[in-house]
């Protein structure tokens, strides 16, 4: 079996064109698609504006970004499209916002998911981060509001965090534009495949749950080779997530796996 990140395809995008078009993304003349996820109040829209140069309204309330914002930019000769997902605390509840975010990351398979994290509230923001890392293994964590953390005398060891999470971690202060260049560099490295993420997977949990997840993932792995987030799919099936059950039934899930396979073989 070939490695997922085979050298001859270091720069080919991983996104799922058909699904992205279904989700309403205009795919003409693009190299990579990014998704921007994060808790409310983390300055997600500010990061979006800093990346794209757009001026979307930013505010302190959840649900500000109701109509999904899209923007694009070029970096290192490649064209990127960035989609701002609704700010959510989690991807597990059944609110519309969370479904929109979840579906985009799962079915759209963006090349990179940028997770904006408020440094001063790291633990709570890691909830969403860890959930995203279960779904996708191409992510960059943007440690935003670093100035606020400094004011609260908090110090973050971002290299340790990057080792823990298995994805690049970039400290930024998007309001001032600090760290945006580094963020762009990290994004391009993950998108082009020159940085291979080894995302953290949730390890704690009750014996019963982990046993059930293990059993179900084994069957899933056997039946859907190429699917890289089997554990997460197993968890969703165990929780009875209708959307995922549907995806299994209609074969949509099988296609996601195959899609990845084809790209590796190209």
């Amino acid at each position: 079996m070939k490695e997922r990140q085979s050298p001859e395809c270091a720069t080919c995008p991983a996104h799922n064109v058909a699904n992205l078009e279904k989700l309403g993304v205009d795919m003409t003349s693009l190299d990579f698609v990014l998704a921007l996820a994060g808790n409310p109040n983390t300055g997600k829209s500010t990061v979006f504006n800093a990346l794209t140069g757009l001026r979307q309204h930013t505010g302190n309330w959840p649900g500000k970004t109701v109509t999904r914002a899209e923007g694009s930019f070029s970096y290192g000769g490649k064209r990127y499209k960035i989609v701002d997902l609704p700010g959510t605390y989690s991807l597990l509840s059944t609110s519309t916002d969370e479904e929109v975010a979840r579906d985009f990351i799962l079915f759209g398979q963006p090349d990179v998911t940028v997770i904006v994290v408020d440094v001063s509230r790291l633990e709570r923001n890691l909830n969403l981060t860890l959930q995203v890392l279960e779904i996708t293994d191409r992510a960059v964590v943007c440690l935003n509001l670093i100035d606020e953390a400094e004011r609260h005398h908090l110090k973050i060891d971002e290299r340790q965090l990057s080792r823990e999470l298995g994805v690049p971690v970039v400290p930024t202060n998007a309001r001032q534009g600090d760290g945006i260049q580094a963020l762009l560099k990290a994004i391009s490295e993950v998108a082009s495949g020159s940085f291979v993420c080894k995302p953290h997977r949730i390890a704690s949990g009750s014996k019963e749950l982990m046993g059930a997840v293990q059993r179900l993932s084994n069957s899933l792995k056997a039946k859907f080779p190429g699917l890289h987030n089997v554990r997460w799919v197993a968890l969703r099936l165990l929780e009875g997530d209708a959307r995922i059950i549907d995806a299994v039934k209609t074969g949509e899930l099988a296609k996601l796996g195959r899609n990845e396979f084809q790209q590796i073989e190209n």
Partner: protein, 342 residues
């Protein structure tokens, strides 16, 4: 124009009539709408459910039992059973009645729909506990197979209804019955409530009013002829045996026991710190998911940041963020006080 006094009178009379008709909950219009059910098919479906229930609990079904459960007279109950026998859903034997294979299948289908509705009403609507059963009773009779599927998808394929009853699968499977009635406990047994019977409504309402719910741990203190006394959530509760029999429990091994008395988040004062022990089962649906997502889980250390100028919502420091919760929500979160902050 007519006499002013007359038109004033008629306006007042008109307003009063409107108010009497449409006053929330007790208005005539709402009462009339509630009374609009009870057709023959509904009765038949209810009868099947009742027969299955008795079979599940190991009771022989009789005409008397059925007439009591459905609130119809004996003649009507007899006619109903004859009709059910004609279409081969029920067959009679020497002591009473029994479901046939088809009858059981149909009964399980109805029970599935009923429990799914209850789950839906509990998780996805803001209705009171005592309303779930009543509404489900009405809703269950008028759904198509597709609507049931939609309901399943919407509620996330639940396995248990909010009273702790298992929901039959689409192919009609149910796990074997667990637990025993509260009345069978011995004094000093510690047990967990796994089910509260929602019929008759008056008894259920009493149990709800006492704050009992599936998942709650209790310890039996006294067992007398007229009443049972036990401790639940740190409070002493007395129930008549007839009432207590509607509560199903499983005895807990010592290591799983965690009785009260519990303090809740609502009892904390500003700057006090506590650790979350558990979130009550009465906090459910979207509300529960939201609270969990915010990081309120067993073990989380919470301190009180400030109280609203009007006294009610209180803001708590939860994992680095300041989150306001209402008193009714804070009362559902059991805590263990740590120490008074300096």
């Amino acid at each position: 124009m007519t006499a002013p006094a007359f038109s004033l009178m008629s306006t007042i009379v008109g307003t009063v009539t409107l108010l009497v008709c449409f006053w929330p909950q007790t208005g005539l219009f709402w009462k009339w709408r509630r009374g609009l059910t009870s057709t023959r098919r509904v009765l038949m479906e209810d009868a099947l459910k009742n027969l299955y229930d008795e079979e599940y609990n190991g009771i022989t079904s009789t005409i008397n039992g059925l007439s009591g459960a459905l609130g119809i007279n004996r003649n009507e109950a007899a006619r109903l059973l004859v009709r059910l026998e004609e279409i081969r859903l029920v067959h009679a034997h020497a002591y009473g009645f029994q479901l046939t294979q088809d009858g059981r299948k149909e009964a399980l289908r109805m029970i599935r729909i009923h429990r799914l509705w209850e789950r839906y009403l509990a998780d996805e609507t803001g209705l009171e506990q005592t309303e779930w059963h009543k509404r489900a009773e009405k809703l269950e009779h008028s759904v198509t197979a597709q609507q049931v599927e939609a309901l399943v998808a919407y509620t996330g394929n639940p396995t248990y209804d909010p009273h702790g009853d298992p929901i039959p699968t689409a192919s009609g499977k149910l796990p074997p019955k667990k637990g025993k009635p509260l009345t069978d406990l011995e004094v000093n047994d510690v047990a967990k409530i796994i089910h509260i019977e929602d019929e008759p409504g008056a008894v259920f309402a009493q149990l709800v009013a006492e704050g009992l719910h599936p998942g709650l741990q209790i310890r039996l203190l006294e067992k007398a002829v007229r009443h049972l006394t036990f401790i639940a959530a740190g409070e002493e509760i007395k129930l008549a045996p007839v009432v207590a029999a509607n509560v199903t429990v499983v005895v807990l091994p010592v290591e799983d026991q965690s009785l009260g008395p519990f303090e809740t988040l609502a009892s904390l004062d500003i700057d006090e710190v506590a650790e979350v022990l558990s979130i009550s089962r009465n906090c459910r649906g979207q509300q529960r998911r939201r609270i969990l997502d915010l990081g309120v889980i067993p073990g989380t250390v919470i301190s009180v940041a400030m109280r609203s100028a009007s006294g009610d919502p209180t803001a708590y420091n939860i994992r680095g963020a300041t989150i306001a919760l209402r008193k009714t929500q804070a009362e559902l979160i059991r805590i263990h006080r740590i120490e008074r902050a300096a």
